[in-house]
Symmetry: C4
Subunit: 228 residues, 4 copies
Amino acid sequence: LQVNKLARPASAHRQTARIEAFSDGVFAIAITLLALDLRVPHLEHVTAGNLAHAILHEWPAYFAFTLSFATILIMWINHHARMAWVQHVDGLLIFSNGLLLLTTTALVFPTSLVGEYLTGPAGTTAVATYALVVLGASAAWNVFMIALQPERGLLLPGVPPAAVAATRRNVRFGFVFYAVTFGLSFVNAYLGLGLLVAMWCFWGATAYGALNVSARTHDALYNDLGEP
Amino acid sequence: LQVNKLARPASAHRQTARIEAFSDGVFAIAITLLALDLRVPHLEHVTAGNLAHAILHEWPAYFAFTLSFATILIMWINHHARMAWVQHVDGLLIFSNGLLLLTTTALVFPTSLVGEYLTGPAGTTAVATYALVVLGASAAWNVFMIALQPERGLLLPGVPPAAVAATRRNVRFGFVFYAVTFGLSFVNAYLGLGLLVAMWCFWGATAYGALNVSARTHDALYNDLGEP
Amino acid sequence: LQVNKLARPASAHRQTARIEAFSDGVFAIAITLLALDLRVPHLEHVTAGNLAHAILHEWPAYFAFTLSFATILIMWINHHARMAWVQHVDGLLIFSNGLLLLTTTALVFPTSLVGEYLTGPAGTTAVATYALVVLGASAAWNVFMIALQPERGLLLPGVPPAAVAATRRNVRFGFVFYAVTFGLSFVNAYLGLGLLVAMWCFWGATAYGALNVSARTHDALYNDLGEP
Amino acid sequence: LQVNKLARPASAHRQTARIEAFSDGVFAIAITLLALDLRVPHLEHVTAGNLAHAILHEWPAYFAFTLSFATILIMWINHHARMAWVQHVDGLLIFSNGLLLLTTTALVFPTSLVGEYLTGPAGTTAVATYALVVLGASAAWNVFMIALQPERGLLLPGVPPAAVAATRRNVRFGFVFYAVTFGLSFVNAYLGLGLLVAMWCFWGATAYGALNVSARTHDALYNDLGEP
């Protein structure tokens, strides 16, 4: 009987283990592939000064790399926290998770666009495309959270419904925010980018706080609910 | 004795653990590398309108990216479900799994082809190449399912022979379907592509339904058979 | 006491778990990156026939892709089998493992070379470079097997010394074989490539047989020796 | 009660499991992507001799590849050893870990720079950029070790405070060393590179020794402190 009690969390966990592993893999690869956009400049006249100048001139690429890296990192932290609630896996969860991974993976494309076109006359198009892909990721998060609604029966017993509802409100707000950002990007590239950075700071601060609460109480965010 | 009972699933599982981890890794990387085909357009006259036009003009690349992403995602879901049946690993299983990973990895090549040539006069060749690689993946699935035939003794006790037989019929049908699609791709590129999309919808709907049954009954598809 | 017996394999395993996970990751990525060498041909006059011709013309790239894929797959199978013997991890094991991963990763470079230059006058140089990198991987395997010598105390109790000695003989023979292949590659590119393929068939058949024995006896190759 | 004792390490471990898995993934991908900088030379007149000459001419790329491979490998070994101390995860740990992964990932960029510009007049700029990214990684390690200060309560009980303090001194020394190296790189490219190699030898020897102690005593470095 005691042995059974021990065995249960392991087998319950198995339903989500490979999804977490696969998603972790995609997040890790998507975040690392961003570095391929940091391109070595090709110079006509090679001097130490020219190379330094050319490297510094590529600052939008470093900025876009850092922004996307932070975005994917925070998405991974949140994905981790939400998957910790899950006991059973159904079609909607798997497919919304797939849509989330697709948009995360696709982020490498507008990151390149922003890195190459931000400072020129096509900066608005580049940032708007970036905002559009982030909007797609936000849509995926919204479907993902619909899949996690308590009444659908995928959650572990003991996950507080209020926490689920709060996350749903957050991702709905995020969707509206990114839709507005998409529109404003056409007005001014730096305005659009500023809003994306601001949103990242908000998600980052939220995750930072939640992780600290989790560490202090030894459960909360990463609570696997396996120990009473 | 109780302890032995507990230890058995863990050690039985160890035979498949690294194969699943390695395959997950290859699926995750192959699916993410697809994003490298979303290339930044290079413009002669940079304006916001020209960039937007050039981005929209690349729609076949986005379409091919989405199709291949969905294809690999569904292959991963099915791989996951089939590996959950496996207790022991032999040469045929490992090598057919390797062939499956090879064809999955190679999918990035015809995805590029379709993204670049779909709308032009070489669209038929591009789609036929795509269908040929998918046909190769289907062949690998067929060998994989031969390796899982119940009489070969690799399956966990309790896997219903009817489920194995149904999967074998599915992958045999898939092979014929892709062979026909390969032939028809030479007639018309969009016809070939339409058949590939239709097949994807079929596999997707099947997996979606199976995952829902699995979630509702708390076993079926992902049943690890470790708990009676 | 019974609980301790149960806990031991888990904690002993933890010493090798992250090395296996990291190595699996590198093998999986190295094998998948090979696909990036399957490049879309760029045509001056785009017709269905021209594209088909250009795709078929790239056959050395497909051949090199398949050869390297098979090589890395078999290295992964063997790595898996040898790591299953390991209980403790020391500096020599970690660093020889690192050298093995470095040479495996580097294999993407001569794969490209062979894909591009095999059929021309520089085929000998391309194949010799390929053989040289494989020779480096073989050197890494030899150091790896030195690290696993029974008297160094890293192995699990119960690993048969005869099996370790047999593997050491195999990898020593491999090193000599690849050194000879490297030399003969300068004479004729296809001779060198034929020897590499022959060796791959030999390793493949050996692994295939060992995996079948393992499946039949339910231990042998993947025996984790955790259960008596 | 005995069962509880067994269950605790597993559930405590779960807090760090996905961070280790994700970090392992990023390290593994970053180390493997380096190989993409080993570029196939394009020749005007293809002969076996010309190709051999062109391959040998690219030696700075092989050197940079090996240096970065070794750097990331040692960072992974150390990351592994430090994460083995951790019981709880908070915001500072996750974000400093993220900064560490970002700088590790970014290393592919100066690796390309050094591979392409080392021998020419812009060698100083290339090596200085390399040193700057390593300096960033060192800064991340310093924040990471601040997160692991014993009084912050994230460590497993039993981690010796002296070991933590020694690591903190090491990473602080590393930061000063890399800052000096950055400055000296502008004087002479080979001087800067020599210092980076020397530091790598130092970290490598330290890790090698620590791993050997760990193997001999069956705990130390990789001690998960789960067994008394």
